[in-house]
Amino acid sequence: MSSVVSEHLCKRFGDLEVLQDINLTIQDGEFVALVGPSGCGKTTFLRTVAGLESADEGGIFLNGKRVSGPDRDRGFVFQNDSLLPWRNVFDNTVVGLELAGRMSPDERARVTRLLELVGLAGFEKYFPRQLSGGMRQRVNLARALAIDPKVLLMDEPFSALDAQTREIMQTELQRVWEEGRKTVLFVTHQIDEAVFLADRVLVFARRPGRLLEDIKIDLPRPRTMMTKRQPEFVALVDRIWRLIEKDVRESVLVEHV
């Protein structure tokens, strides 16, 4: 059974062709990372899977059903955490369940365990302004997991974090994922982050945004900090970097003109 399928997906914003004929299949329980130069349409692709954007041609299919809008079978983890400042950690985490009218004592207990899982036990009553960036992203993640989605969509969730926190969050995410084995689509700019986390890395190219290469990552799990020093790891990062180097240079130049 396949989980997420993109079939001839095209997306335009006015005259700008952002996504051109994206065809791919993501298996159930697979962790897939998306990398590519800035502006190649990674966010747009993720938002289309989430149902926040509609396809111009083709479409996204979830277990064979066409995606027509946002639903609680997909959980979105936002780049900016978008925590509601008037809700504490617990109330922010249950917001999806609340919207669905699923607020039983059982669910509450499950959310408490979930907050434990992401390392936030004891912080339930804290407000977003009292948390560090890393903790806020943990809430962001827990909030998406709380609705128990089939697919987790993550758009550069760690990009606002400092380097050390980021490394820790990568290991943490891997651990959380091992517990539930959800299908994950993870957008990142950092190639080593993609290789470290993913079963597969999809490399996008820009102008127009399209799938350039689909690279299988066969490194054994669980991966640790040591994994990042292994020659296989380094070789993979190198290979991906060479794929997008030219594009990245162009996009940087374009953005600075």
């Binding site: 989430a50 149902g51 926040l52 946002p70 639903d71 609680r72 997909r74 959980g75 979105f76 936002f78 900016n80 978008s82 509601l84 400042p85 008037w86 917001v95 999806g96 609340e98 919207l99 669905a100 390392g119 936030l120 036990a121 004891g122 912080f123 804290y126 407000f127 977003p128 302004r129 009292q130 948390l131 560090s132 960036g133 890393g134 903790m135 609705i147 400092d162 050390q164 926190t165 820790i168 943490e172």
Partner: protein, 287 residues
Amino acid sequence: MSTAPSIAQPRNSSVLAPSGEVTKQPSSPSGPRKPARAKLRPYQISLLSVVSGLLMWQFLSDVVIANPLFLASPLEVVRAVITLAETGELWRHVGASALEFALGYSIAALLGIGIGLLIATNDFAKNWLQPWISGFYATPTIALGPLFILWLGIGVWSKVVVVVLLVVFAVIINTEAGIRSTSERYLEMMRSFGATPRQLFVKVSLPSAAPFILAGLKLGIGRGLIGVVVAELFGSRLGLGRMIGASADSFNMPELFAAVSILAASGIAMNSGFSYLEKRLVPWTKD
């Protein structure tokens, strides 16, 4: 990972949590512990300011402008307040003004929030009402006071209308601005969780507009007090404005200043009440 809430730290200080993450600690109620040197708390500074202002006033009226027809000293004002309170006259004036203010302010608050929410969510209503709102807000409607007395008599309701007119537009404008400034990020996040338009409004727009609405209501206090006094000056039998008018006519400075001081005190009291409410209801806006 074993981060746990740790002991109270000074506001905004950063500590390295066990995980290596930089953790911002919530402020402790006792505030930062500064080294010895005595430092005045904010309210102490304000208190000191008021006391020195009163002393200055006393000095001015005793020494510089020692003319009871022009200025009453704070002590004379206190005496006047006590006398008026004993005869019961004060309470009748205060009661009348308080009633007018309470009625006008409550009506304006309900109406203002209602209309504000309406025009923030309905474009037809917005376009229909906007010219009137802008027009009335910019017009010194208080000048219409005599007209309302003509129409409604010199009783309570002519004053209530003036208060409503002065307060309501500030509330409308703030409420609308609050709803419209709702962060698209939050709305989008809630949409991704399948929120309905109604849920978006109740769970995102309303809470994020709350600080604005409170600010509008707070702004309305001063405007409402002005409305009461000026409307009463135009014509009334009772009220603090009436008291001010009458004592000015008879050069009774202590009574005039007594009325003004009571107005000032109630304005300050209501404002601090609102500041307290803001801290309780919308703590996330204060940092």
